[in-house]
Assembly symmetry: C2
Homo-oligomer: 582 residues x 2
């Protein structure tokens, strides 16, 4: 929202009562997050801004709406989310989230920037511009996430200096390379300074960090952390000046565990976020309205909870133009039935009605996405690349852990053929997993072994494989694995399930190989379908999510053992290791 | 504080425990304004920054100090002050304030900029750079305060655009021309946009404003107001998103009246300030330590009070590098005996010990002030300019009101000589008052009549006359008035008392005619002395402060009747009027 002479004059004319408001929302209960009070009154809107939120009967409007006693809240703000995790594009996510009362996302386009670099960021901004939802992007700080993999792009400290000159980018997104900061690596320091020199914020990510290491991380000026899973971690961060984001996404459910740590004294340092929230979770459980319900159900004062999703976040991230229903701020208003179920009835963004009774009222116009399509590029790829010669039958295998993000470094005995190549034992739950580099035509293919996935036949391939998003494929035989990878090339990315030379299921994700160009409902249904096929037809372990679990087996910052396009990576030792055990 | 690679690396090295802290303050009770807790611990300092404020025994220091259980608070922040009102230069004010626990002033150099324009601002910044105290200047928004007077400078919206490009200037100081905003005047809007377009803040000043007019003022994006004198005014502003500054200066004592309005729900929107605080008040009553004592005495939780003078202010004004004792922020630390008397024992600024046991430990080095000296320039001035011909003996007189800032527009009958000129009646308390333009060589001299000053003989002249700071002189006879004005020219400004052709008292204020180049103690004593002489020798009303009262009689924004160099000004009608009554 850029104010100019004309908009400012109109705003003051409306506020002073010289001209009618463009829109007057009468008869609402205004949730005043500044005073901490709820007052009956009316909201006068001029252009995109609030001119007044005052007592009843003061203003007149060109258009007047009777809110019939509904609660008026500032539209909700998610303090940290990855749009790509919904597998929906920004325009489509706007359609899903706005009817739930959300007005702003502080988004880290980490996934697409790892695939498509600055073109990915540009696309996400173009797409956000088409959406009613305000999406405030931070610049991904760790692209690639580690030097131990090939991503589609590299963003150096020098690149950041240039990109951060853009006044619309408020800073660096979650600085995941916390060892780089704690150990004061030159590269990390230069990145921090690129942001600091420009007065930009630096968001954080520091799971498990504590004591002196946390002091070092906080010293660097890290604004916030969304990785707390205990009240003690939360308290330690608040005492070091960091904001704490209470997260509830599709996979990570920290919010309820952390709520007992929210006190009257520290609540202003607490915010709400979802991090990764898939379309099906949004459609079935909601978004920040779900967080608010949980807060209030846990006994938190509704006003405190609402502040955590509005004013606190706006203040922490310097979004001075929103987060409260006060004169001069964006007219981002959610009308809700009550402060218990937080069901959004009507949502206004920039003074325009954007959703009513759960329906998005605006057309979903798609931004030009050609620059980020057809993103799966392989070199010298063939079935033969999945051959796995072993010098020993005692090998390291990546063992999936409950929850599906962590893995264990397990040593197992496997079968080999006469040439010494790995051959799967039909009675053992150990299969091949491969990462095929898809960005830079390096021709890299790394092959490892995966335990606990349950796959009994065929292959599963994805172009989502955190954080570099190469192709990851798991399979019982090289032929089906290769077919599944080739299906992904054809689709421009997505999910492919193959058995006995036949494609059993496909979910195209043509936008950077990460997002669908279909509706959120399609995404939710399709993902459920491929997951169901993977379990029912291919025998994947029914206790894990087939797609989500596999896509994390390539993430070399989450312990213990992962596979990148460059090889088998021991996260604990932070180095590559051979498959063969010592 | 500008971080560079070296300072950042050292900070992280200390925080992580790889090298010793430069300074370790052991055995203190850390007042954690983020968590709202007080914890025993130690503070490790690296360079100018806090590396850790943590549990005891974690760190080692090159230098270690045993705080013997003292409370460690973030150094205090005054949210709004005019340095010039102390009549001390910034370097000297640093000497007075730092030993009281103050670390930062958010200062409006309104007086000196009205006298000396950008040279005045530059001087104040040069002087602040010599001080241990951090003085964060905002750009005066209304220079001159009104178009109805001649100041030494004019700062247009266009000038602001240029000046505000400076990243060290955080925004516009108190926007006193609130009618200009409420009425959406072109000039005011352009000034607002000069700040908004650059992401700068706009501080406020809106005494008595309410209802729709206040909505308009708040709509403009005004950050704060320090002019509340009732709880209702305070609540009205907080509900409109403004921060409220609870003020206690030498003249304005709103703090105690407003404290009952501070609640657990709204306290984060409340800050502390002094606005105008003279040297004698500072020396006898203190600074923000006085505010804190009053808060706690009024029953406020000490932590809430401390936050109002630290974290809240830092957050409101975007001073992200201070306001809390957490890693990465400035090592601005005040050690205090208790949280009742708030007596500062030791004060560290930027990691350096700056005061101990009430003594400032650093040398007071003065900045070059030649550019703002010799600032009293008259044209065609002579005793004859004080002649006051009247067409009628029924005239408007400026009647001083209790408190000394407001005046009444009173109609009185006066004596005239045969030529029709005013002649003072020895039995009536009505004397001449004149404003002599001193900046632009306009030769302007305006003469009016003053009631209630009590002056029985001689004359009093000042070069402090809000807000344009022309020379103001009140006297029983033209000759003494002229002598007093000439004494000011000689001194380069200040205060002069004359009787029967003799100078009875002089207080030189050579720095822009506003500030002394002597010590704060000298200022306090000298001001008391000239005030005493004015009462005892010249008969000025003992119930008013002779200097402070006279200096407000030229301020055309405070009702009802004032005199500028351009004539008699009716503040209620906002226009000039003739002396003769209708």
């Amino acid at each position: 929202m850029k104010e100019n002479f004309k908009s400012l004059k109109h705003l003051l004319d409306v506020a002073a009562g010289r001209v009618k408001a463009d829109l007057l929302i009468k008869n609402c209960r205004i949730v005043d997050v500044c005073s901490g009070e709820i007052r009956e009154g009316e909201i006068a809107i001029a252009g995109q801004q609030i001119a007044a939120a005052d007592a009843p009967g003061l203003y007149e409007g060109e258009v007047e709406i009777d809110a019939q006693g509904l609660y008026a809240l500032p539209a909700l703000i998610d303090a940290h989310i990855h749009v790509e995790s919904s597998m929906c594009t920004p325009e489509e996510l706007s359609r899903l989230l706005v009817p739930l009362g959300t007005g702003t996302l502080i988004a880290d386009p980490h996934e697409i920037v790892n695939v498509a670099g600055r073109e990915g960021l540009d696309y996400m901004r173009r797409a956000a511009a088409k959406a009613a939802l305000h999406i405030e992007y931070l610049l991904p700080s760790c692209v690639p996430a580690t030097p131990f993999e090939h991503a589609g792009a590299t963003i150096t400290a020098e690149d950041m200096e240039e990109i951060l000159e853009d006044p619309e980018l408020r800073g660096l997104a979650e600085f995941m390379n916390f060892p780089g900061i704690v150990n004061a690596s030159e590269d990390s320091l230069n990145k921090l300074l690129a942001a600091k020199d420009r007065g930009k914020l630096i968001d954080g990510h520091s799971p498990g960090l504590s004591g002196k290491a946390l002091n070092a991380y906080a010293s660097a000026g890290i604004l916030a952390d969304h990785e707390c899973s205990t009240v003690a971690e939360m308290q330690e961060r608040i005492a070091r000046g960091m904001f704490v984001l209470l997260r509830r996404g599709s996979a990570c459910h920290d919010l309820d565990r952390l709520l007992p740590g929210v006190t009257a004294e520290n609540s202003r340092r607490c915010l709400l976020c979802s991090d990764d929230r898939q379309a099906h979770t949004i459609l079935s459980e909601g978004h920040l309205d779900d967080h608010l319900r949980r807060c209030v159900r846990a006994g938190l004062d509704p006003l405190t909870a609402i502040r955590m999703a509005t004013l606190n976040t706006a203040e922490a991230f310097g979004l001075k133009d929103r987060g409260a229903l006060v004169p001069g701020r964006r007219a981002d208003i959610t009308l809700m039935q009550d402060l218990r179920d937080f069901k959004a009835v009507q949502v206004f963004l920039d003074g325009r009605e954007a959703a009513r009774d759960g329906r998005y009222l605006l057309p979903v116009e798609r931004a030009d996405d050609r620059a980020v399509k057809a993103s799966v590029h392989l070199k010298d790829f063939s079935e033969a690349r999945f051959r796995l010669p072993l010098k020993s039958d005692r090998v390291h295998v990546i063992e999936i852990q409950p929850g599906g993000v962590l893995s264990k470094n397990t040593i197992a005995k496997v079968q080999r053929n006469v040439a010494g190549d790995f051959i799967p034992d039909p009675s053992a739950d150990i299969i091949k997993v491969a990462v095929v580099e898809r960005h830079k035509l390096t021709g890299n293919v790394a092959v490892g072994l995966l335990k606990g996935y349950g796959l009994k036949e065929g292959a599963v391939a994805l172009s989502i494989a955190h954080d570099s998003h190469n192709v990851i494929v798991a399979g019982r035989n090289d032929h089906d694995m290769a077919l599944a990878v080739e299906a992904l090339v054809r689709m421009g990315g997505g999910v492919a399930l193959v058995n006995k030379g036949q494609i059993l299921g496909e979910m195209p994700l043509p936008v950077a190989g990460l997002m669908s160009d279909q509706s959120g409902e399609w995404v939710a249904e399709k993902l459920a379908e491929v997951n169901r096929i993977a379990v029912e037809k291919l025998g994947v372990n029914p206790h894990i999510e087939p797609v989500m679990t596999l896509c994390f087996m390539s993430l070399p910052v989450i312990p213990e053992l992962k596979l990148t396009d460059m090889g088998l990576f021991d996260v604990t030792r932070f180095s590559f290791i051979p498959l063969e055990a010592e």
